[in-house]
Amino acid sequence: MKESNAVRPPGMLLRREVTAAFPEIDRLCGELRTGVLADFPPRERFAVELLLREALTNAVRHGTGAGGLVRCEIEWIGNGVAIRVCDSGSGFDWRKSEHLTCDSRAESGRGIQILRQYSNALRFNESGNSVEVIRVISQGRT
């Protein structure tokens, strides 16, 4: 029987190095849905996958470049998850995005907005090639 999140002790749920390519993101997320996230409530499973996707997509688009490697991990921290994504690229200027408000008809620029909306904490390193996203998991909400 799977451990429920209510009793799960803190620890690493996933640590992986993937090639910077969109099909790789799909493959990893598919694996998560049926693996470590399978017993999360649907709303939380969706949110954690979405956060990981956006962090990885950001790394593919602005980070290491096609064919490079991206490291990612998901850690259970007792009351939620910490998602960490790091690439070997030169990073991007996340400070600029802090003050951006996306035009609701704009066709791009929502990745960081989603990271902010769906997380409880969002931290980039100085150079912007490493991000940590924290999401508290609501047990009772489905």
Binding site: I25, D26, P42, L50, V60, E107, S108, R110, Q113, Q117
Partner: protein, 104 residues
């Protein structure tokens, strides 16, 4: 060639139905097909998310792109079949103020 989406025509309305998630990997394939439909004169387009479990920021960008080009040509765009989680995402990102979105 196998595609990851289906296009259904009913009268003046065209429904685009992805067979999978509307995320960055699919958008590269879906965007030119939807653009071609608008260029060919389609003015009523429905995106059916009935088989999608996930939509990301790139997928939302695709919807806004389709809406922008169809509405500029005087047409209508809508989304149907969204899961509860996708509906919540689209509501959070305030896309429903531009075009109708309905659930499963």
């Amino acid at each position: 060639m196998m595609t990851n989406f289906e296009i259904r025509r009913e009268g003046n309305c065209v429904t685009v139905a992805p067979a999978t998630d509307v995320v960055a990997s699919l958008v590269g394939e879906l965007r030119p097909a939807m653009r071609d439909l608008v260029r060919s004169g389609v003015r009523q387009m429905v995106l059916d998310l009935g088989r999608a479990e996930m939509v990301d920021s790139t997928g939302i960008g695709l919807m806004l792109s389709a809406f922008n080009s169809i509405s500029a040509a005087g047409g209508e765009f809508s989304v149907v079949g969204a899961s509860r989680e996708i509906l919540e995402l689209l509501r959070t990102m305030r896309v429903q103020q531009h075009f109708p979105v309905s659930g499963r």
